[in-house]
């Protein structure tokens, strides 16, 4: 086993607590290797817990993930730093020194008992709505219940809340404090920083953000999720009406020489999933996916796509040239998609009450990943190569394996 006070008992740094990071951390800890897990956000689970459903199992997004999140929180060998990001890595006398920036929020999640006393204190004194009980992250995993959120703009820094808080969890002054630099010697690093959705405004022809009914894929997920604002109901953002038709446009800003040449590889299935759920919840609505190549190649994915087609999801091989707005009878406007029906070759303009733009996902940076001479640490998950949940967790375990092997070779012999 891993000797606790040998020089190699330095912890392994895992950057990012998405599904890949969580898996890597747990796999290492299972071998008795201490782990420091840093997460930029307040809640664990990364993008996965923000998903309403997962394909192909149609499992809820957060449910499978929080088991691992809870295990990480409970594991004696895993130290978690929320609201902390990796700034860079330095080489100091043969050891890797990680520079972390911790910017603790006004409310300390680990100390808060959610009693709500701060709200009362604030309401008595401050501007109403300065403190709100709000879900940490879009979906609340049980390890992140609704916590008091201190609005930095409204807050007068009067400190009433801090006075009322029985556990000293809340402190408005933290709002103004600059991030604290932390330096931490680590044995090795695993990057699992995940991805961010590209700014769709890059793609002018699809009028992104110009119409409330044009969504990015993750916006749509949030808008329609069972834990979201509409509790699983699908409605138009413009007028709250039930949409008669929904169009999904694939490869928006990806597989596109102007922006992102590569394929994000998760969007086809993501769109299929959203389309199927839309169809389940609104059987009357017509749902279409405009794809370039329908890349459903994983385990059970093809079957999922076939089921979608059987359920009446319209699959159109086409890359629409234009999205624009048409006036609606009774005021307002509705987006319309202009595309070529590749089968017949004719140009079609179709109105869609909701248009979902699916595509460009960019890997998050990995500070210090490519060192001067060679690459440090191992990367896993989307930040290494576009990957969905089931691929990310495999990559996470793989990264853990590589690190464990490196440590073992250092100690000579097994762990």
């Amino acid at each position: 086993m891993h000797a606790p006070d040998s020089p190699d008992s330095l912890p392994v740094l895992v950057v990012g607590a998405g599904v890949a990071g969580l898996t890597a951390a747990l796999d290492l800890a299972a071998l008795g290797i201490p782990v420091v897990l840093v997460e930029r956000e307040g809640c664990l689970g990364g993008q996965a817990v923000r998903l309403d459903k997962l394909y192909p199992s149609d499992h809820c997004g957060f449910c499978p993930v929080w088991t691992d999140a809870a295990a990480c929180l409970a594991h004696p060998l895993i130290t978690l730093h929320r609201h902390t990001s990796l700034e860079g890595l330095a080489e100091e006398d043969g050891r890797i020194m990680a520079q972390l920036a911790a910017s603790p929020p006004a409310v300390d999640l680990d100390a808060c008992v959610f009693c709500g006393l701060c709200l009362d204190a604030c309401e008595a004194r401050g501007v109403p709505g300065t403190i709100k009980m709000r879900l940490e992250g879009m979906l609340s995993a049980p390890d992140t219940p609704p916590v008091p959120y201190l609005n930095p703009v409204l807050c007068s820094r009067c400190g009433e809340c801090a006075g009322a808080c029985p556990t000293g969890a809340i402190d408005p002054l933290r709002l103004d404090r600059p991030p604290q630099e932390v330096r931490l010697p680590v044995a090795d690093v695993i990057f699992a920083t995940g991805f961010t959705e590209n700014d769709t405004t890059m793609v002018p022809e699809y009028l992104p953000d110009s119409h409330p009914d044009i969504f990015s894929a993750l916006d749509f997920e949030a808008w329609t999720s069972e834990a979201g604002p509409n509790a699983g109901r699908i409605a138009r953002r413009s007028n709250g009406k039930t949409p008669r038709s929904i169009g999904f446009i694939q490869c928006v800003g990806s597989r596109d020489q102007r922006f992102q040449p590569y394929c994000s590889s998760v969007c086809c299935m993501h769109a299929l999933k959203q389309a199927r759920w839309a169809k389940r919840r609104l059987p009357a609505a017509s749902v279409a996916i405009f794809f370039t190549d329908l890349r459903a190649i994983g385990k059970g994915y093809e079957a999922y796509a076939r089921a979608a087609a059987k359920e009446g999801v319209l699959l159109v091989r086409s890359r629409p040239g234009l999205v624009f707005c048409l006036p609606e009878e009774g005021g307002g406007s509705t987006p319309a998609v202009h595309y070529e029906d590749t089968g017949s070759g004719e140009l079609i303009t179709a109105e869609f009450d909701i248009v979902v733009l699916n595509g460009g996902l960019t890997a998050c940076p990995m500070p210090g990943r490519s060192g001067s001479s060679t690459q440090t640490g191992s990367a896993c998950g989307f930040c290494e190569e576009p990957a969905d949940v089931s691929r990310s967790v495999v990559q996470g375990s793989r990264a853990a394996a590589l690190v464990a092997m490196r440590l073992a070779s250092r100690t000579g012999g097994g762990l």
């Binding site: 149609d58 069972e226 509409n230 509790a231 699983g232 389940r280």
Partner: protein
């Protein structure tokens, strides 16, 4: 049943029994023995003895057979002249590992259509014999009035209130062979109350038998208060069959096998509308 046929069948069975005994296949053959006052179950061991073998009336023997033969060492077997339900019961007992396969050798005798009517039996004939038309229990007024009529609750209340908790139904049941029984466990059935609380005493039994009941009616026959237990068990068995068919399209009666055909089935609940999709104020 016409007398002539009866005699032919009777002789055929008697010959089978004699053959069994002669061939030393079995140590004895359990059957009904005619006496002056009536008939009693009896283990026939000699050819001449079988002269007293009678086939009527229908008398469920499976439990008796099990009690005699369960302790038999490897190689020993007991013959049994019995009806279709008993044959099924023996199969169930073997399936449930309660008796060594082959320890009970059955000589099946089909019931008459008239008998089937009495027993609410859907398969009165035994394999190998020419089929006798069974009846669908759910079509019989006896069952319908108890299990479908609006006022059935009152009927059941009246019936259950007559139970004297003698455990006759369980003790005579060829399926109820557990060494311990939930009906005697205070965690399930409150002990020391009469009549027993029907919700537990009778319904727990009904649940346990749902996928096993062979419809022999032994429980009902042995009930001193004449509770209509057979309709209850048949109705439950029927309900389970409906469920099985609707869930996995097969008639395989089992409370364990998970329906496979509907893999990936999604959210549902038993309150009329779907509960997800609408936030309530």
């Amino acid at each position: 049943m016409i007398q002539g046929q009866g005699n032919i069948m009777h002789n055929a069975v008697r010959d089978k029994v004699r053959l069994m005994l002669a061939g030393r296949e079995v140590v004895g053959v359990l059957g009904l023995c005619g006496e002056k006052k009536g008939v009693v179950p009896h283990v026939f061991t000699t050819a001449e003895d079988t002269a007293r073998l009678v086939l009527e009336p229908k008398w469920p023997l499976a439990k008796t057979g099990w009690i005699i033969a369960r302790a038999f060492p490897e190689g020993e077997a007991l013959g049994m002249v019995c009806r279709g339900c008993d044959v099924r019961a023996v199969e169930e007992l073997v399936k449930a590992g309660q008796i060594r396969p082959g320890a009970l050798k059955t000589i099946g005798v089909s019931c008459s259509a008239a008998q089937a009517e009495v027993c609410l039996c859907e398969s009165p004939s035994v394999p190998g014999e020419e089929p006798v038309a069974g009846i669908d229990p759910m079509s019989m007024p006896a069952v319908r009035s108890l299990c479908l009529e609006p006022d059935r609750l009152d009927r059941w209340r009246e019936h259950f209130s007559r139970c004297i908790k003698c455990y006759g139904c369980r003790n005579s049941c060829p399926i109820c062979v557990c060494p311990a029984c939930k009906l005697e466990d205070d965690a399930y059935v409150t002990t020391g109350t009469l009549p027993p609380d029907p919700l537990t005493f009778h319904l727990i039994r009904a649940m346990h038998l749902a996928d096993r009941c062979v419809g022999c009616g032994a429980c009902q026959e042995s009930c001193p208060s004449g509770l209509p237990l057979l309709p209850l068990h048949l109705a439950v068995r029927n309900a389970l069959r409906q469920r099985e068919v609707s869930l996995n399209g097969a008639g395989s009666l089992s409370l364990m096998t998970a329906p496979g055909a509907e893999a990936g089935t999604l959210w549902e609940d038993t309150l009329g509308g779907r509960s997800n999709g609408r936030r309530r104020a």
